[in-house]
């Protein structure tokens, strides 16, 4: 990691620390204060958006570990989120088990299903692997729709999340629950990337043949990436289920899976901060376009042909994504890194 001029590490712990300067700590504490006091100045709607961002972030972190770090392309992530959501729903609704049991089992079940669909990664990669993971998306949704325990096409109700008798009923309490778990997942991903496992993932992504020659067990690490990525998807699914309170399989579409890939590409593949940028950007863009811009255009420009304003949403959404991919293909994380470098060197360019 590049550090401001004059910053030195004298111990291993210092070298490994994530926050290394006083500025880091100040910014981090400021961010925490801002985040934890958000319910004081955000209404239920924006807290709802924040909760959606938090849940999406957990799933995107998992997908980033799988694609960004390990290079295993998966286009079935919404399917794995569905596995977690329905596992938690069935355990807490039908079997009346505690939320925490549902949450953990959701992660484990999604991880196990991920392992099954990850097996082809040993033999195929790239687009071929992408096609096998698309199969996961369709098979999982088909099973959910046709298995009576999940409520089929009708759907299933999900109770409020509760821990030790405390029910997360309000948007605020759900916000703290989701933010806590998202923070744990972010911290885990950041550290995982710096371990032997993370380095093995990167080696496999960069050249799996070379990685194998270096003694990395491809089967083990590829499946481990699928397990961890899908485990996080399962956790996100469980939180989504308890947040919405009702599930049906249409909430987990292929479009959603593709959107997840879009998020981590726009954010920056293979970085910890990338998914955060990508998720916040895409979810806010969706909200601003559909909630602010379109109703405004519809109300204001009544002379426009019918359907014009609503047609603007997908066009603008696509346009912004295309512009990003053209202007900053390495994602927002790269732009952030450039900004930090420029800030550290300022006022000197070199």
């Amino acid at each position: 990691m590049s550090l401001p001029s004059g910053t030195r590490n004298y111990t291993y712990a210092q070298d490994m620390a994530i926050l290394r300067t006083k500025t880091h700590w100040a910014l981090f504490i400021g961010f925490l204060v801002l985040l934890l006091t958000a319910p004081l100045y955000l209404g239920n709607y924006w807290l709802g958006v924040a909760n959606l961002i938090g849940i999406t972030l957990i799933a995107a972190i998992g997908l980033n570990l799988l694609i960004g770090y390990c290079g295993q392309l998966s286009i079935g992530h919404a399917g794995f989120i569905a596995v977690g959501a329905y596992t938690s729903a069935v355990l807490t609704n039908r079997l009346e088990l505690p939320f925490l049991v549902g949450l953990i089992c959701a992660g484990l079940m999604a991880g196990l299903i991920g392992l099954i669909f990850g097996l082809p990664s040993v033999r195929v990669k790239g687009f071929y692997l992408a096609i096998t993971t698309i199969a996961a998306q369709f098979i999982i949704i088909w099973v959910i729709n046709h298995w009576s325990i999940t409520g089929g096409f009708v759907g299933i109700k999900v109770p409020y999340a509760s821990i030790a008798g405390f029910e997360f009923r309000s948007e605020t309490s759900q916000f703290y629950l989701i933010v806590s778990i998202a923070a744990i997942c972010t911290f885990f991903a950041k550290n995982l990337a710096r371990t032997r496992v993370g380095r093995a993932f990167i080696a496999i992504r960069d050249n799996d043949l070379a990685a194998e020659v270096m003694g990395i067990n491809l089967l083990y690490y590829k499946l481990l990436a699928f397990f961890i990525g899908c485990f996080m998807a399962g956790i996100a699914g469980s939180l989504l289920a308890h947040w919405i309170g009702f599930l049906n399989a249409e909430q987990f579409s292929l479009t959603e899976s593709i959107l997840y890939i879009g998020m981590i590409i726009i954010g920056g593949l293979g970085t910890t901060i990338g998914p955060i940028f990508g998720v916040v950007f895409i979810r806010l863009l969706q909200q601003i376009l559909t909630v602010e811009i379109v109703p405004f255009l519809e109300r204001t420009f009544t002379m426009l042909p019918a359907g014009f304003a609503t047609g603007v949403t997908p066009m603008l959404f696509g346009l912004v994504i295309i512009l990003f991919l053209i202007l900053e293909p390495r994602g927002l994380a790269h732009r952030w890194a450039l900004f930090k470098s420029a800030y550290r060197l300022w006022p000197f360019s070199y």
Binding site: Y45, L52, F153, V154, I244, N248, T290, P295, L327
Partner: protein
């Protein structure tokens, strides 16, 4: 050249900033604040159900414009519509409903059963009254805080099947009915009714087939259906997939031959436009509103607004549904204001929601200008209108063939399989 990239980035940022502040500019240009009553309206105006959602959104807003400008709002209080597109996406619908709650809306509406199903638990948990134009049994059985504007998809099936047995079926024994269902509450609402009432009506139900909103071919599923020699094919779906199924049935030589019946989500002008009038000629359908041009008191004003503001929607029966929905909203608010007072509603929040429900919706007794059946709340039955009519596509026109048919309440929750 050195600065070109930065200029482009700055340009993109400026564009994004301009888009973000547009709504603020709009609110800055608004007139002095009036004592309004807010209602939340969410339609799938983009996405896979836009062919229904867009005209429905137009109708909602056109009618509210009419109510505010010509009828003086609700007892002098303009209705403020907080309209949000949901793109037929559940997570967007969830945040939309939270926004409605935040903005002080006293109730919210959806046009599709799928969107309502994704938020009904949130609304039920908080007691926020929801009002679904198109609805399925699962939304309000057992009844809580979600209300159906019209009979549900199950009622459509019962009405069509009863008509078929009384007027079309001339054979002996039980006719065989195949069902092609959209893979959500729109489709499976009809199946619930078939499970509940097929024996009583004397109909044999073949194993149902299902399809998705984006289907492009149903040759395979229709081939399976054809092998079982059905007498009648019932499709409960939206117009685009319904058009695909009927086209494929024609290609396979099934139609004309079998009788085809549609639920109210499918029989609309969009179906005729997409499939072609010759393909869908003779198809039956159930719809809970009158048709364009019918001689009812509410027709003239609706036609005037539609032709002035959204002429492309003229002839689309979904427009009628949502126009009627907005008229009913106004009546709910009028009754609620009369019984509970404006101040209670103006506060928003739980007290207002409860007032709208107990002092408005549950005291309704309203004729929607004849646009659909009378709107009356019956305890234990959250369907506000309970009447449907049978239509047939004749010469490209959706033509009524029956008078209003009362749809009896089916207590689905008393069946063990319901919701499983």
């Amino acid at each position: 050249m050195k600065y070109k990239k930065w200029v482009v980035i700055a340009g993109v940022l400026c564009l994004a900033l301009m888009l973000a502040v547009l709504p603020l500019l709009g609110s800055a240009c608004a007139g002095p604040e009036e004592k309004t009553i807010k209602v939340g309206i969410s339609t799938p105006s983009t996405g896979p159900a836009a062919e229904k959602g867009a005209p429905m959104g137009h109708a909602n807003l056109d009618c509210i414009k009419y109510i505010n400008e010509e009828l003086g709002g609700v007892d002098g209080h303009p209705i403020e519509a907080v309209w949000l597109d949901n793109a037929y996406d559940a997570s967007k619908m969830v945040t939309n409903v939270k926004r409605f709650m935040d903005e002080g809306c006293v109730l919210f509406t959806t046009s599709s059963s799928k969107m309502m199903s994704s938020v009904m638990e949130i609304a039920n948990r908080d007691g926020f009254p929801g009002f679904a134009a198109f609805n399925a049994p699962v939304l309000h059985r057992p009844p809580q805080h979600i209300y159906g504007q019209m009979p549900d998809y199950g009622d459509d099936w019962v009405a069509f099947s009863r008509y078929y047995m009384e007027n079309i079926w001339k054979g002996s024994g039980k006719p065989k009915m195949a069902m092609h269902l959209l893979n959500n509450t729109t489709g499976y609402g009809a199946l619930d009714a078939a499970k509940a009432a097929a024996d009583e009506l004397g109909i044999e139900i073949l194993p149902p087939e299902e399809h998705a909103t984006d289907t492009i071919s149903e040759i395979e599923s229709l081939t399976r259906i054809k092998e079982q020699n059905p007498d009648v094919l019932y499709i409960s779906s939206t117009p685009a997939p319904t058009a695909v199924i009927i086209k494929n049935a024609v290609e396979l030589g099934m139609y004309p031959g079998v009788t085809i019946g549609l639920g109210h989500a499918g029989i609309t002008k969009a179906l005729v436009d997409i499939a072609g009038a010759d393909i869908v000629e003779g198809v039956y359908g159930v719809f809970p509103t009158v048709n364009w041009g019918d001689n009812v008191p509410g027709m003239a004003k609706m036609t005037e607004y539609c032709q002035n503001l959204h002429p492309d929607d003229y002839g689309n029966m979904d427009y009628i549904t949502s126009w009627a929905q907005s008229l009913i909203i106004a009546e709910i608010l009028r009754v609620a204001v009369a019984n509970a007072g404006y101040d209670v509603l103006a506060k928003g929040g739980e007290e207002a929601w409860q007032a709208v429900e107990t002092q408005g919706i549950q005291k309704l007794n309203y004729d929607v200008g004849g646009l659909h059946g009378p709107v009356i709340y019956t305890p234990g039955d959250n369907r506000l209108s309970k009447s449907v009519r049978l239509f047939q596509i004749q010469g490209g026109e959706i033509t009524p063939i029956t008078d209003w048919i009362e749809a009896p309440l089916v207590k689905y929750e008393e069946f063990d399989w319901f919701g499983q």
